[in-house]
């Protein structure tokens, strides 16, 4: 029986990916002075879009995010390709997106609770 629909699972997955992405960014920032370290990024949106297009969002939990080396970043003289400003921008963007997902989820949960309370 599906009372809550798929979107709770999708939102939970998006929040989980957000936390993962934060970890990858934090790892990049921690390694900003490590010689030879290549900046990494999390790829999820393409898999997510595929699932969205093919209407398979029901199993959103099973979608996997991949950690890859970012190819766009310019490599510095010591072989390191972490750029602090870029990572900060990504981190802030990710932080805001997490806030969006969390607010939507909160709204949904509130409505579900209203519905339950109305039935009592």
């Amino acid at each position: 029986m599906k009372i809550f629909g798929d979107d709770l699972g999708v939102l939970a997955k998006l929040m989980d990916v957000s936390v993962r992405r934060h970890e990858v960014t934090a790892g990049n920032l921690a390694n900003v002075n490590t010689p030879g370290y290549r900046a990494r990024e999390l790829r999820f949106e393409d898999t997510f879009r595929d699932a969205l297009d093919s209407g398979r969002l029901g199993d959103a939990r099973k979608l996997e995010a991949r950690v890859v080396e970012s190819e766009t970043a310019e490599v510095k003289a010591d072989g390191n390709s972490v750029h602090m400003e870029r990572e900060f921008a990504l981190m802030q963007k990710n932080r805001l997106l997490f806030g969006v997902y969390s607010s939507i989820l909160q709204g949904k949960l509130r409505r579900i609770r209203h519905a339950i309370e109305a039935a009592q």
Binding site: H22, E23, A26, G27, A30, N33, R40, S102
Partner: protein
């Protein structure tokens, strides 16, 4: 997500904080010893530098931990030449040439390094506070 996973973002940035603090310690040591002519071994002080390395934990597999950082070694700088000052009256001057050998610490270099280390420290601190905000926001979902 397993419970230890919740704090992984903090452990990561914590490792970054620790590494950068070690770097600041070594820079402070260099600056403090900038004018040391004789260390216990008899030689002038030689500047030291931390070398960072990434601790990889299957970083490229899906859903795995991104690499944290640690101090691989504190290396002594033997390539930068010691500075030589002509001062025949100095007790440790070479009796023949009158030259005193001072450490190879270069103040401007250390200051730039210190600035970079302290900015990197702040970056890790910022990452921790952002992560904290996210976790707190997620926890507020429990309140309804």
């Amino acid at each position: 997500m397993e419970l230890e996973g919740i704090f992984r973002g903090m452990t990561l940035s914590g490792a970054g904080l620790d590494a950068e603090r070690r770097r600041i310690d070594v820079i402070a040591e260099n600056i403090a010893n900038a004018n040391v002519v004789a260390t216990p071994g008899g030689e002038p002080y030689r500047r030291r530098e931390v070398v960072f390395e990434t601790v990889l934990e299957g970083a490229m597999e899906p859903g795995s931990v991104p690499g944290t950082v640690r101090v691989a070694e504190v290396a002594t700088d033997f390539t930068t030449p010691l500075s030589e000052v002509y001062d025949p009256k100095h007790p440790l001057a070479d009796p023949e040439t009158g030259i005193v050998r001072y450490s190879n610490v270069n103040m401007s270099y250390e200051m730039v390094d210190l600035l970079s280390a302290s900015r990197s420290y702040e970056a890790n601190l910022k990452a921790i506070s952002t992560y904290r905000e996210m976790v707190e926001q997620a926890l507020r979902l429990l309140e309804g």
